[in-house]
Symmetry: C2
Subunit: 94 residues, 2 copies
């Protein structure tokens, strides 16, 4: 499991469509399909139901989505905690 795979999974879950998710992620569709499939294999459980109209989250996928977002949020916080502090004379309120 990689952070990229989690981002990919979230995008597909939200779009319910591999093609649109690929556009949003700026990669092409086949690698994205592969990542999703490999993630499912690694987790040992399918996350999506493949329908003629696209992808729909299974209950397992719904649960995983919550945790995936939590991971990505934690990564964002980790990045932010290192950002240089804004200048003392904050332009926001003063």
């Amino acid at each position: 499991m990689s952070l990229a795979q989690l981002e990919y999974f979230v995008a597909v879950a939200e779009e319910e469509h591999v093609g649109r998710a690929a556009l949003r992620l700026h990669i092409s569709q086949p690698p994205l399909s592969r990542h999703i499939r490999r993630l499912e294999e690694e987790l040992g459980a399918p996350l999506f139901e493949r329908t003629p109209r696209g992808m729909r989250l299974l209950p397992t996928g719904e649960r995983f989505l919550t945790h995936a977002r939590r991971v990505l949020a934690a990564v964002d916080e980790a990045r932010r905690c290192l950002e240089p502090e804004p200048p003392p004379d904050a332009p926001s309120a003063t």
Copy 2:
């Protein structure tokens, strides 16, 4: 930034020693040094102080360590949320 890098960072931070951390992670020392350095480059800030005895966390590294552990914990939870439930007749107490 990758999950592997976060694991590597935590191990080096805990061991304060690249060589021991490498043993613990079952990889060799040079790739581990590279990962740490590349993580620092990506974050734009050094995380460790290099001493003749090993590596010591800088204040920035201490802050980042907290967040790195949070990310890895969230990943663990994500994995766990998919595990098959234990059988109803729990063997723990019977």
